[in-house]
Symmetry: D2
Subunit: 387 residues, 4 copies
């Protein structure tokens, strides 16, 4: 549990980091929403601000004056229980409020929050809400980066985001298999540090003997898969995956472009030649699964991953697992809108474990459970094989 002073510091650093991420953008980049999953950067900046105003300032600061009565409508997202909102697919149609307005809104709320955290003695429960608000903003920092990559990387001019961002750290070690013995293992978050609700409820699982790779699959390995014609081999794919491949003419990972016979990749540094030894990225679960099939191997379950993770390096790619996302035994959904945030029930989503080059600093844990629909590719997703 953070002290109030630590919390204030955490809050300030978190807020500053979102703004650092956006400091490389042109005004126009803040506005567009090329697909439903990608939100305009100005929306992320406003939405994370709205969270603090709605759940901390408005109910707890005496005579708090809203910056603007329309913010809730514009920057609420999926919180159906809190009121009306702009429908998700419309976010990119809104030229107003302007980017300048959003920064004023941020400053107004940040100052009010800092004053509140400095001057008031606040309850442990409310500290928890502020802490969640910071973690919520950290999640949106990762989305900011992946959404910016989508916006710039699908522009025909392929503009660079900045030239410092490192997407493709090389794994300079040999591939080996880590063996784990059959038995009962405990999974779930065990310490007092912050975690999301969905990691809680330590419980036992039975694992059979298995082996898991110490290394992520590389671009070079995936080129072999492509060249073997695997995108055209129905027997490697899920029924839904096969439809997805064919309806969308999928022939390579997202952001890959074959130019004059050579594979290129759009990265946040712009369009560059593909680095064969870099860990594969921007693949769907369907592609991860088909690749494993083609190798006569498989993906690990989330529990195999969690149990073995202490024996390998991770953190550059979100790693698809075979596990479908569902609540842990004895999970109880919190009441109200924060419950809606934490306890959103999901179906048809696959668990990803680890974290990625875009994950906000200090925002990864061995028990962190990320989840996405199996066809999505705009996150930094990769795969680790098991058998």
């Amino acid at each position: 549990m953070l002290s109030q002073e630590q919390l204030l510091d955490f809050f300030k650093k978190t807020r500053a980091h979102s703004e650092l991420i956006c400091s490389f953008l042109e005004t126009e980049d803040y506005v567009v929403q090329p697909i439903e999953d990608v939100s305009p950067p100005k929306w992320h900046l406003g939405h994370t601000t709205w969270f603090f105003e709605e759940f901390v300032l408005k109910p707890n600061v005496k005579n708090y004056k809203l910056f603007d009565k329309n913010s809730a409508y514009v920057f609420n997202s999926y919180y159906e229980s809190v009121g009306d909102k702009v429908i998700r697919t419309n976010r990119g149609n809104l030229s107003r409020p302007t980017v300048a307005w959003v920064y004023e809104y941020r400053n107004y709320v940040s100052k009010a929050m800092q004053k509140f955290l400095k001057e008031e003695k606040i309850s442990e429960e409310l500290c928890g809400v502020v802490e969640i608000g910071c973690h919520h903003e950290k999640q949106h920092q990762e989305l900011l980066l992946t959404d910016i990559k989508y916006i710039l990387g699908n522009n025909p001019l392929f503009p660079e985001y900045n030239d410092q961002f490192k997407e493709n750290p090389i794994q300079d070690f040999k591939q080996e298999w880590i063996s784990i013995s059959e038995g009962v293992y405990e999974v779930g978050h065990k310490t007092d540090d912050f975690c999301y609700d969905n990691e809680q409820g330590v419980h036992k699982v039975y694992l059979n003997d298995y082996q898991i790779s110490n290394k992520l699959v590389t671009n070079a390995e995936f080129i072999e898969f492509i060249e073997a014609g695997a995108y055209k081999d129905v027997l490697l794919w899920h029924a839904e995956g096969w439809d997805w491949v064919n309806n969308n003419n999928i022939e390579a990972p997202f952001y890959w472009h074959k130019i004059d016979g050579e594979w290129h990749q759009y990265t946040l540094n712009g369009l560059t030649k593909l680095v064969p030894e870099a860990p594969l990225s921007h693949i769907s679960y369907f592609e991860a699964f088909a690749f494993a099939q083609w190798k006569n191997l498989r993906l690990p379950t989330e529990f195999e991953w969690e149990t073995a993770q202490q024996y390998f390096n991770w953190g550059t790619r979100w790693e698809w697992t075979e596990s479908a996302y569902s609540p842990y035994p004895n999970y109880t959904k919190p009441k109200g809108a924060l419950g809606e945030y934490n306890g959103k029930f999901m179906v048809s989503q696959k668990v990803l474990r680890g974290s990625s080059v875009a994950t906000s600093p200090n925002h990864s844990r061995p028990t962190y459970r990320n989840f996405f629909h199996p066809h999505l590719r705009w996150q930094f997703t990769g795969l680790r094989l098991a058998k």
Copy 2:
């Protein structure tokens, strides 16, 4: 393993039973396909026949003469590796071949099969293919009944299928909780009897202490859920479930109609008053889950169900579980088209356990794993609560 004589008997009974099911239909009922999931009865009759012709007779009977070279094209289904086929949504647009033709085709193939099974000594592997063909036809017998129910039950005239079919056996016992203790349990098919590939691979799972109801949820209980306004309470639903409810204006289980203030249900005996004490039927996974949420309870996992099933009655409703469908550890997909049948990879489907009033006789097992997309309701689906 069945002897060849037993197999012949099994084949004959299976084929006769499909025809018995259809004996109550008008010619016109064999033809239509009101939604993609529902196939025309004549298609089921032809497709199950094509299976024997394609996988048994054609490759194994010397000088076998196909009944008609077009059958494969018309009656193949999802076997992408076997060749061209009529796309699924087009099945209901084909007035030809006629029903009479399909019966001739059945007779032709049935006779050839019987001759083959009587006169030739066939290998164990081929016996296995014939046995699978019979079980495949038994699966289609259940689909025949549920598809006929869809066809007649969505006709504005609500015609009766026949007056003998019993859909709604009452559970004339008290609701109680069965307690199972925490520990390691074995799951999967253990005997020598026939089972599908996906039940194989006996393996251990760890279960926490849990309780499971001895009784299925009834119509009367579900009416309470409706009357409490649960279809309008966003917090009870999965995100996808909430969209499904609203996009389709779902207000009750499938086949329910409120007429002059009173609930009615279309059954295979026609439109009748709803029987409050009958087990609930024709609900989606989303509704099963929301009901459990509303009760502050949950659905069992497929392993909890399998472990406890010896202590309760089952067999009138397919029971939604919380488990997403995925292959058992060490599952290996068979080669070729039969592998496509058995080892179809699925994502985004939920496991249902048990069997239903429409399940073909002798076609249920405690380890049987059925699976459907979470929104589907045309099967006889119900739910059993756990905690």
Copy 3:
């Protein structure tokens, strides 16, 4: 104006002709609806019957007993003002009422109508309704033939309808241009014979000098257009036509199939080699227009067609004109449901003039105005050039 006796005779012949058309069908052919525009033959038989029951018998025969209270619901079509109806796209999902039931319904209504026409002295206005009912049924006779052609011609087995139907009468004369001089001409229906409302209101139009072909464009001419790559030349097409060609991969007229390098055509006699000298058929307005563009010619307007029609042979193809369908000056829509039938306002439809090999006998007039959306091809549509 027909005498009551003539009307009775007209009624009987009209009813018999619909049944003759259907006498070549299998029961299954009566049921399916492969696309929205094509109705199941049993629907046509029921709908034309419902017209007489709803507009003649029910309001005028004392104590008339409806054959069945559900017929209106099932067989009403677009008469929104008369009550609920099965939505159009659902017609092919209804296996009931059966074909046998529909024939009983026809007999019941036909007998009641004949009794009524024989035994009662009926008003001139009501005679008009009966006469319209017969012409309405004659319109549906043409649709029966074109819908049957669609149903059988899109079946992969290409079944024959019957071997007597003549689709492709040859134009055994030389192509010549008929010249019409600039001036004021009268158009519209002038005699006392039956016509539809939309032909009424004789009025003057000014025509510039023009020439119109005495001959319809032939298959051979259209093959030249195809071979010149005209389906790929954007400059020949309307914007909507270009989208239509590309979204639907249009490469030839409807019912054309290239088999082993040779053009074939499905006709009501089955699949046959294309007859080069036959008049082109089953083309959209877009194709008619693009062909004319390619020839540096144009389509006639409906008034040019009407003024010149006395100088050429017509009657085998509905001929696309350049005219958009709109009411004649001073047109007034009749009151009530018959007004809905006659005076349906249309937008975005093109006028076709003439009649076709499928038109019911004695159902064509020089002033008849047919109209369809420009992309539709299942009617026997062709083109005549002008300049």
Copy 4:
């Protein structure tokens, strides 16, 4: 025909006017595309510039250096014959090039054009291309205003564009009927001044006696139509119009909002109370037609409008006519891409006559033929009745 000096002046004024229109925008407003029909303002600015670079500078200025090789790709629109382009629905997904870049592009091309027009003696044909380029830009000026209105008027904050724009000039005179006698009239552009191709080809038409109103329908009159329940009366609407009303829940003209029981209207001055006496605006052809039906009157044809226009005031609303858009007799499409601009074949569009408050100064003519699909409402569209 303009002298080269006049042309230079025309060019400069036209270019300046586009920039004046945009001077009231925030950077963000230049970027979004809320629906396919509405283009981002920066696209309009770039596209009109590309026209001059592509058709004037590139082919005619020696050693002309393109501002950027990507402009053609980004700013081409429907000119399929000139090469690849960003698909229309993607325009609003492009944050780059930035607004600043687009203004640099404009300046670069404007300077090059001015130098060219000043220093070179250019052919009459090329003068024609420049003149068309200016008129093309003037057309886009009207679109700029209507697209900006759409972007701001569909933003939940309803921002004002500027407070000077006059949308709603009152018609301060009495409604009267102007009578025109039956006879042959000439239509089409007759002078030497600029006009579009589609106005050319003076030709005769025959008009029956008719009367046309001297006054546009007002908001007050349309409120009566709404209050009479006309949006719910199927018999007033085209079949397509009825579907459009119901699928889109249309209950009032576009930009109308009922707030606390009172009608408001979004205008370029922001959200204001509806002015009853102002001419009705932002209606579809379907609504114009249904209103006329409800009045037992009709819309004029485009020829009736053109013949009578000298006797009434026009210019505040584009006036829907009953005429479908098709080329005039003897129209010949120019060759190449300019032909694609001028001679785009259209089907299913209705002619509008007059001009509107958003029309660029000196860009209206009695013979100008505007055309849109019948459901579109984002232009300043109104109606004038005839009988």
